[in-house]
């Protein structure tokens, strides 16, 4: 057997994007328990945009983060309960609440050039005794070398692990390799490297594997890929591949397959898959979470979702700027009516 890897499930956080943050408390609890029994190392729970993401801009959750998180930690046997925080959206106060509910690990996420806004949150999370990951989103928008410098800022602030986060599902396999290589050169050898993919170019699993082969230890995945855009690296598929490669992990493949097909897929009103809209996200390098918001705007203003997504890419919009989807749609709507 080869080196062991750390599998973090993101179904109950990134998966929120696919169903407009509408996970019910009961099904979320059942899934967390089932994922624990199926052997994942960590389970991330929050609004899709992290703690306090519930808003007009990102969509209101069916529950608050507090409601989703409460009572879960007590029911997990092995898996670490984790959450996500984006500085600028959530605050250290939100993290304290999550910690009191039993969260043991957190990822602090910033755009790939703005790591210094997370220094305070990473340091405070460490003071609280949490395991801390730094999450560098939209990693395709920075060069490998400069991304690694940003990773170093997070490491210096106290992160145990730093992630290459391909939020747009835009990275090709060699581009993932270059970023993980750059991290290895820049970071201390005891800092772990993580990989978080989106499947918009059908490379979710392949990119996760090449990152692992270059030294990434923490791998993100979700049941049936349940996540923003075309979803994440599908957990059950990733585990099947790791089995065939002889990589050691704790997961039970068939249990995960059953959860993916029996529970998750029927929940998806809009299928999570590579289609013209989600492929456009990866192709244009656009934040995957924009998908459902862009589809809503396209419908309301009589436009093609792809045109909106491509224009958002042209305008260099970054994660969190969901309000600019309506802005773009209104500009395009005016232009169409004018011509």
């Amino acid at each position: 057997m080869k080196n062991k890897v750390y599998i973090q499930d993101v179904t109950l956080r990134d998966g929120m994007h696919a169903i407009k943050h509408s996970f019910g408390k009961e099904i979320l609890t059942q899934l967390a328990i089932a994922l624990d029994q199926a052997g994942v190392d960590a389970i991330e729970i929050a609004h899709g945009d992290g703690l306090s993401g519930s808003s007009f801009n990102y969509g209101f959750g069916k529950h608050t983060d507090k409601e989703w998180l409460s009572g879960i930690a007590e029911q997990l046997q092995n898996a670490v309960l984790t959450t996500l925080l984006l500085p600028g959206i959530g605050t250290i106060e939100d993290l304290k609440v999550a910690k009191d509910l039993g969260v043991k690990s957190v990822r602090i996420a910033t755009h790939c050039t703005e790591a210094d806004i997370a220094i305070q949150h990473i340091a405070e999370a460490r003071k609280m005794g949490l395991d801390v990951g730094g999450f560098l989103m939209m990693a395709h928008m920075n060069t490998p070398k400069n991304l690694a410098k940003q990773a170093k800022i997070m490491e210096d602030a106290g992160a145990h692990c730093v992630y290459v986060t391909d939020s747009a599902g835009a990275l090709l396999m060699h581009e993932v390799e270059e970023r993980v290589d750059a991290f290895k050169l820049e970071l201390n050898s005891d800092t772990q490297i993580g990989i978080h993919c989106h499947h918009n170019l059908s490379l979710g699993v392949a990119n996760t594997i090449v990152a692992m082969e270059k030294g990434a230890y923490r791998l993100d995945a979700s049941l049936a890929g349940m996540g923003a855009g075309a979803g994440n690296s599908p957990l059950e598929v990733l585990i099947a591949v790791l089995n065939k490669m002889g990589v050691e992990h704790n997961c039970d493949l068939f249990r995960l397959m059953d959860l993916a097909d029996d529970i998750i897929r029927p929940m998806q009103e809009r299928p999570v898959r590579v289609d013209r809209e989600t492929l456009s996200l990866g192709y244009a390098g656009v934040y995957s979470s924009f998908l459902l918001h862009a589809e809503k705007a396209a419908k309301k203003y009589g436009l093609d979702t792809r045109d909106i997504l491509v224009e958002l890419g042209n305008r260099k919009m970054v994660g969190g700027q969901e309000d600019m989807i309506v802005d773009v749609a209104l500009d395009m709507h005016k232009k169409v009516n004018h011509d």
Partner: protein
């Protein structure tokens, strides 16, 4: 009338931009001292070249300078922590007023077109945040014609315009802005989001304001917002409504769930702004800098005129 003498503490982006604004544009104020702690800072060097008296030993140096007795108003553009120190030193001089541009917020919040006229007797007033100065007038414009249950603002600024102070304490932005959306904007509950965008060339500041209010005639909201935009433009010429105001009814059958408020329905209003800076210290993309310093300057000028 002789110009009223003021001092600026803090030689970073905000202090330097404010300095340039007062020198170029103010008929009522003159800068008697520009105060920093690093004689090598770009701000202090620039002020010296412009012939302004500079002090590189902080508030203590300012109080010991011969101009101190004549200075009526002090702008503090340092940090929340430094402001606590500065205020301890200055507050014994009860005839002087301090305008706090840090997130310390010892004194009441001021958003000039909303509540300045009620606060002229205060000795320490706080300018909230750049995002607050841009968005709270809009929240107030809605809340003065319709009861607002919830207001949320999204401020997008160019990475280049966010100085080290902002970056080191981004929670101060979200928390202070949210509080002022409630206490000054008039929303029952407020939420603030800030996004840094590193695009090159840098993008001009954008602000989006969402409110959930009781259902009223939309024209009342449109008129109130347009009037308020005009009021802000008097001191921030680059402030503009970038799109038509968008409305949506959130009906009782499909309510939204808002933390601490429960299930809510009503009229959703979405206001999209663009705030172009005057290009005094940083280029015009830095509308966030411009709106903060312009609000501080008009506050000082109105305090002078009210006396």
């Amino acid at each position: 009338m002789d110009k009223v003498k003021v001092a600026i503490i803090g030689s970073g982006n905000i202090g330097t931009d404010l300095l340039i604004k007062i020198i170029r544009q103010s008929d009522t104020l003159s800068v008697a001292a520009f105060v920093g702690i690093d004689p090598e800072s770009d701000g202090l060097k620039r002020a010296e070249r412009m012939g302004i008296k500079i002090i590189s030993s902080g508030v203590d140096g300012l109080i010991n300078t011969e101009e101190w007795d004549d200075i009526k108003i002090i702008f503090d553009a340092t940090s929340a922590k430094a402001h606590l120190y500065n205020w301890e030193k200055i507050k014994t001089y009860t005839e002087k007023k301090i305008i706090d541009l840090t997130p310390a917020a010892i004194g009441p919040y001021i958003v000039p077109p909303v509540n300045l006229s009620t606060l002229h007797h205060e000795n320490n007033v706080n300018m909230v945040t750049c995002g607050g100065q841009a968005t709270i007038p809009m929240v107030y414009a809605v809340s003065r014609v319709a009861r607002v249950k919830y207001a949320e603002i999204v401020a997008s600024i160019a990475s280049k315009s966010a100085g080290p102070g902002t970056r080191a304490n981004i929670d101060e932005f979200t928390e202070t802005t949210a509080k002022a959306i409630e206490s000054i904007g008039g929303a029952e509950r407020g939420k603030a989001i800030i996004i840094l965008n590193p695009a090159e060339p840098p993008l001009v500041m954008r602000d989006t304001i969402f409110t959930l209010s009781e259902i009223v005639d939309r024209q009342l909201i449109i008129n109130s917002v347009n009037q308020m935009v005009e009021d802000v433009r008097k001191y921030v010429p680059g402030y503009e409504l970038h799109q038509e105001i968008q409305f949506e009814i959130i009906d009782e059958e499909n309510p939204i769930y808002i933390e601490n408020l429960g299930m809510c329905h009503g009229l959703k209003t979405m206001i999209m702004l663009k705030v172009k800076g005057a290009g005094h210290y940083l280029p015009e993309y830095a509308g966030n800098l411009d709106i903060m310093t312009s609000a501080a300057k008009i506050t000082a000028e109105m305090l002078v005129n009210m006396q």
